[in-house]
Amino acid sequence: MKKLFPSLMSCIISAVVAQAAWADETFEKHQPAMDARTAADEQVVEILLAPLGAEGQEGESRGLIPMVTRLVQNTLSRVPAVKLTPPGKLPELDKRFVDFSALASMERLALIDLKNQTGLDGVIFVSWRWEEASFELALGLVDLRNGRVHLSRKFSEPFGAVLLSHIEEAIEGFAISIRRSIRVTIQVTSEPEGCEVFVNDQPVGKTPQTVELRTGTYRLRVEHEGYRPHLSTHDLSDGDRLELHAVLQNPLAARFLNAPPGLRVDSRELSAGYRYVFVNSDEPAWRHGHSLLLDGTLRINDWQAGLRFGFSAFESHQRLDTFLGQNEGDFVLQHNLIQLMALCLYPVWEKYSFAHLKLGAAAGLAWSSAKSAARSTDKWTGAADLFAQAEVRLLRSGNFGIDLLLSLGFSYLGELPYLEKTFSLFGEGEERVRNRHMFGPTGSAALQFKWYNDIF
């Protein structure tokens, strides 16, 4: 039975080692290119695997030593930036330590001194013994950099794959913790995702991205086409972990939102309302102009700039002299008036964000048309508004607000085309195209919806 047992263990260990080797290959294949590119920056952790010793069945133990050694070697080889130093490389150490398990009871300063003398970062020592069918294994993990016994565990359980996987986990965890203690971790996420990450101008991949580097100062650049790049510099020490979430803004937003206060957009405003213009025109007969107004503006420092859209649809009546007498006829025209203007407002008085008095001006283009039952005509002209505007806050909730706007001023609606009709006894009379400048005093009322920036 005892002869069969080591053979069985050999099979198990071989299977575990083979599986570890396969995992190692797979790991290397799937490792991002970033690791290769940053290899030059890596600082290798040197760990000594102490000569394995055993008590009890010496003959059988000798057969297990190479197997356990391979297990440790394969486990450590899976951890990047960790180098396993064989005991034969440091013969003087063998003389000093007959029993490496004595490291676990050494003073902290003595362990640090050992690091200074040998350059080793850590030592792993393993010993086991047989007790009939049971198997007792002692695992010592000594961190020489800070002089403390990182891990000292005893496994007393039946020999098998479960035990070996426990040993594997313990060794791997030890190696990673030593490596991390002398390295820094940078984790970069971004909005939008998929941004290119550069460390010291070297590409390391796309977000989300995690890189491990040695202690130092790093310039990080996160960029995406169509967005303003995020730039930052960080001074990182051993064990630091930097979690960077870069929010990239598109160039237009970045231009205003990240601009110095003089150019920063403080709020965005959208207003919709009604405008009245006292036109008082005889030909075409159009006394009162009613129109819909839509304004969209950005507040940049004190100034407010944006676009104004105006729409008006109305009828005009022209009295005609017919064979029945004067003004017996009634010629009706359907008009449409559309304005698109650049708008600018400047506050002359403000009470916080509760009330404002502003002066405004708008200038742009107007398209107007006239249509009778027989024909139609249209025309592009200029248009302009000049007004004073009072704003009173109705509602404010967080960064959103609603204001009431009242304005008085003067409007030039553009040159309105119309048709001049002649009443004829013998059928359809002549319709001649005429134009007339339309302007007059104006007043408007509107509701304004405001979205303030976070700076408020």
Partner: protein, 151 residues
């Protein structure tokens, strides 16, 4: 033989039918276009003497209604009568005479406008029609062009 007889009978019937239309002479008025396209139809008739005829139609109710006699066929272009110089007699609702839908010759005036009573028509062929305009001056109803023979 019977087939030949059938063909002969059919040919005779077609010839007889054509001959009947040819004897009538006047085209069916339903195929004649109104003076102004896209307007409601006014069916009118003349009565009285050929030299001083009266005219009647079903009243339209429009305020601007005109009836005119031309010495030549009425020419219309883009809903406008272009040969208004050929008008020899005219009546319209602005004169304040007669009643729309039923007027006498004496209710009208010679054209160009004159306050004189209209002279009886000379011998010859005349053309007449009735039309109505809305307040905006658009033609809204019209008759076809009628012929008036003055012996």
């Amino acid at each position: 033989m019977p087939r030949l007889l059938i063909v002969a009978c059919a040919s005779l019937w077609i010839l007889a039918a054509c001959g009947a239309e040819g004897e009538n002479g006047n085209p069916d008025p339903t195929y004649q276009n109104q003076l102004f396209s896209g307007t409601a139809r006014i069916n009118a008739a003349k009565d009285g003497s050929s030299y001083q005829p009266g005219f009647s139609w079903i009243a339209t109710g429009y305020r601007h209604v005109v009836c005119a006699v031309f010495k030549s066929p009425i020419h219309v272009k883009e809903n406008q009568i272009t040969n208004s110089d050929d008008v020899v007699w005219i009546w319209h609702t602005g004169l304040g005479t007669g009643r729309e839908g039923n007027i006498r010759y004496s209710d009208g005036r010679p054209h160009p406008a004159s306050s004189d009573a209209p002279a009886p028509l000379q011998d010859g062929v005349y053309y007449w029609g009735v039309w109505a305009l809305n307040d905006a001056g658009h033609a809204v109803a019209s008759s076809v062009e009628y012929t008036l023979n003055v012996p």
